[in-house]
Symmetry: C2
Subunit: 417 residues, 2 copies
């Protein structure tokens, strides 16, 4: 293999320990917030029969943007482009045993065969969170609060990101009024979902070509509305949200529709206020998803958020956390006859829950210290003949240069401070 082939496939990522630290930090935040609200983690298979997507998801997504393979019986299997159909299948399969409402979340890989660009990979990780079997606006409120709490916990403020909320029934009512059929309305959703991904005039042309000049004008005027009126579901939802301490993060936006077919009522997107990035978190209420998969009709509300956009947004606002672990320890080896002592100390500390790395080669101490320094290790422990005689160790703090002599039975105390 030549050097070029040492790279991962286009749109796929290698996570070296440095990148992995950020990922573990992000997933840690996500787990913490999901669990604070009583949500339980679940996971589904990464491969599903293609049919579970075709009825419910954007057709384009399945035809052109999904990694498909054939099983040995020539059936088409999809590497899941999203998790919601799997969730609906899992709920339908145990509908009579489960104790509703379900509060479930998941973090796992998804695949889309798209052109990679900033914040968009072919393999990415997604947080899905859903509240199933509860149709009140309080459920919508809870979901939106959770989304906002994640943004808050990452340090994002309302002058950087906002959660933009709309309602498909509200939009539908207006679109029907100007004479659109149900079929055309679904088309308008798809076209509208592309609005922020295209140039203004390109998008207008695209709308006109598909809907006609006359209707296009009316649709534009509907999408330009800055407020809603006479739609209780929206006014009540905002009344609930305005009482919470994430009130500053939410606003009405008539252009939010979401691309997926299964949303029926409230829809929302967290976006950066300058619209430089793709959707950070997107979701809404779906009334028929479980029944489409063979279960009884049950309503749900939820959202998904991809890791790559979140990372890009944090980078842009200079909010990437400093993930340097400053407790790392290297235990050096003084010489061959004392190697056992270093090994024993290393094992003893591990038993007490103190992580440490043991130097394995017999090399000069300064070389061992150099290795620790390069690796960002803070503490180096030296155990030479003098130390052993006095039942002590020398601990060198590489970040300050300070050197301490610590009794063997006081090491734990030293590191737990």
């Amino acid at each position: 293999m030549n050097k070029a082939n040492l790279q991962p496939l286009k749109g796929f990522r290698d996570f070296y320990p440095e990148q992995m630290k950020f990922r573990n930090f992000l997933f840690g935040q996500i787990r913490k917030i999901s669990q604070l609200f009583g949500y339980e983690e679940y996971e589904g298979p990464t491969l599903e029969p293609v049919e579970i997507y075709t009825a419910k998801t954007d057709e384009e997504l399945i035809k052109n943007q999904t990694f498909i393979l054939k099983d040995k019986n020539d059936n088409n299997l999809a590497m899941r482009p999203e998790l919601t159909p799997t969730l609906a299948r899992m709920v339908a399969a145990k509908q009579n045993e489960l104790n509703f409402p379900l509060r479930w979340f998941s973090i796992g890989p998804r695949w889309r065969y798209e052109q990679p660009q900033k914040g968009r990979f072919r393999e990415f990780w997604q947080w899905d969170l859903d509240l199933i079997g509860e149709n009140s606006l309080k459920a919508d409120t809870e979901i939106i609060i959770i989304a906002a709490e994640l943004l808050k916990s990452l340090g994002l403020s309302p002058d950087q990101v906002m959660i933009k909320i709309n309602n498909r029934r509200f939009l539908e009512k207006q679109l029907k009024k100007v004479g659109l059929t149900k079929e055309k309305i679904n088309l308008v959703y798809k076209i509208t979902d592309k609005k922020d991904k295209m140039k203004e005039d390109e998008w207008e042309k695209y709308l006109k070509e598909n809907i006609g000049q006359e209707l296009a004008k009316k649709i534009k005027s509907i999408l330009n509305k800055k407020s809603f009126s006479n739609f209780p579901e929206l006014s009540e939802l905002f009344a609930l949200l305005k009482k919470t301490d994430i009130a500053q993060y939410v606003e009405f936006d008539s252009t939010i529709v979401r691309g997926l077919d299964y949303y029926t009522d409230m829809v929302f997107e967290a976006r950066d206020v300058k619209n430089e990035f793709r959707t950070i978190i997107g979701g809404g209420r779906y009334d028929n998803l479980v029944s489409l998969l063979g279960g009884q009709k049950i309503t749900g509300v939820g959202f998904a958020a991809g890791d790559a956009v979140l990372e890009e947004v944090l980078k842009k606002f200079n909010l990437l956390p400093n993930l340097k672990e400053n407790k790392k320890i290297l235990i050096t080896v003084f010489n061959e006859s004392l190697a056992d002592k270093s090994f024993e100390l290393s094992q003893k500390l591990r038993k007490d829950g103190i992580a440490n790395e043991l130097y394995l080669k017999l090399e000069r101490i300064d070389k061992q210290i150099k290795y620790a320094d390069k690796k960002g290790i803070k503490y180096v422990i030296i155990l030479g003949p003098d130390e052993i005689k006095d039942k002590k160790v020398t601990i060198k703090d590489l970040t300050t240069g300070r050197q301490s002599t610590v009794a063997l039975n006081k090491i734990n105390k030293f590191f737990f401070l």
Copy 2:
């Protein structure tokens, strides 16, 4: 879709919250132990070009047991059946920047298109741990200690599981002595690796057919040896291991060879002592893997362990942990006018890091308690008019039936006890 289709694909698993709890527990133990030894987490892509496997892995694995798909340019991509070739690629790609030795581990999905059976799925999760760039027997020792520490931490004792150790060079030396060529030796490795998956007489027939009656007899006598002699690498390794507190977990076994082509020296397998299950943890030293992928030659030693076998073995020895969380809280809603108070309390507790679930429907308190009970929630908080007047809450412990009245400003203390 009919009911039958509500199941995951054959060999794939749905992880409902109950199953997910075990998975998170297991991965938590794995992360804890890896990190105690100073190992850093990494992850690679799940899809790789098929070529990175064909040179190094068992050919059968790639031809018949791998999920392959074609990209839009008709290249074959494999859903990774194992992680080691990806690790070698990642190391080769940054060989000049990385600070050796590397202590790396990973936990992620792998796929094998095999016949599912107990402890074997088509989609499973695997722990990989490797120490790269260190050729001393101390490195082999460290790797084996880590494997044993995981078994220990899960409650498995040496009368249930053992780590069986061998050395390919030792075996090679003996096989050469009886007249086998290098090529035949590789064939013997593959045949030997199947020994515990077949019936005794079937396996003997299989060996004879491939190697000839005369040689088969000699090979059997080599594989039957209960001890090694005149092989310093093995005697020194055991001398090192016998000084540790996992000494009881290790033994020599002349039949251990591992199936993968890339192992060169020490090889080992953790097995249940009655050989009822597949390999629990398997690994060894590989000298040429990184160079096969275009990097400079560098030695490594490591292992992999699948989630499904571990779970089966724990089940068999009755060691599955009780993962019921006994701190779960439900905040009930007394009536419509007091709903805000419950919501505020719920948010306040979350701010203080106390996870809780808020009941969203307006229903009778006994119905809300019944829901909590079914869901395994321990504490139910009631906030009625009396409680609000007295700035208190009623906390019902569903596991004991005990009911306490707690001042609003003492709730945190109650739950942190």
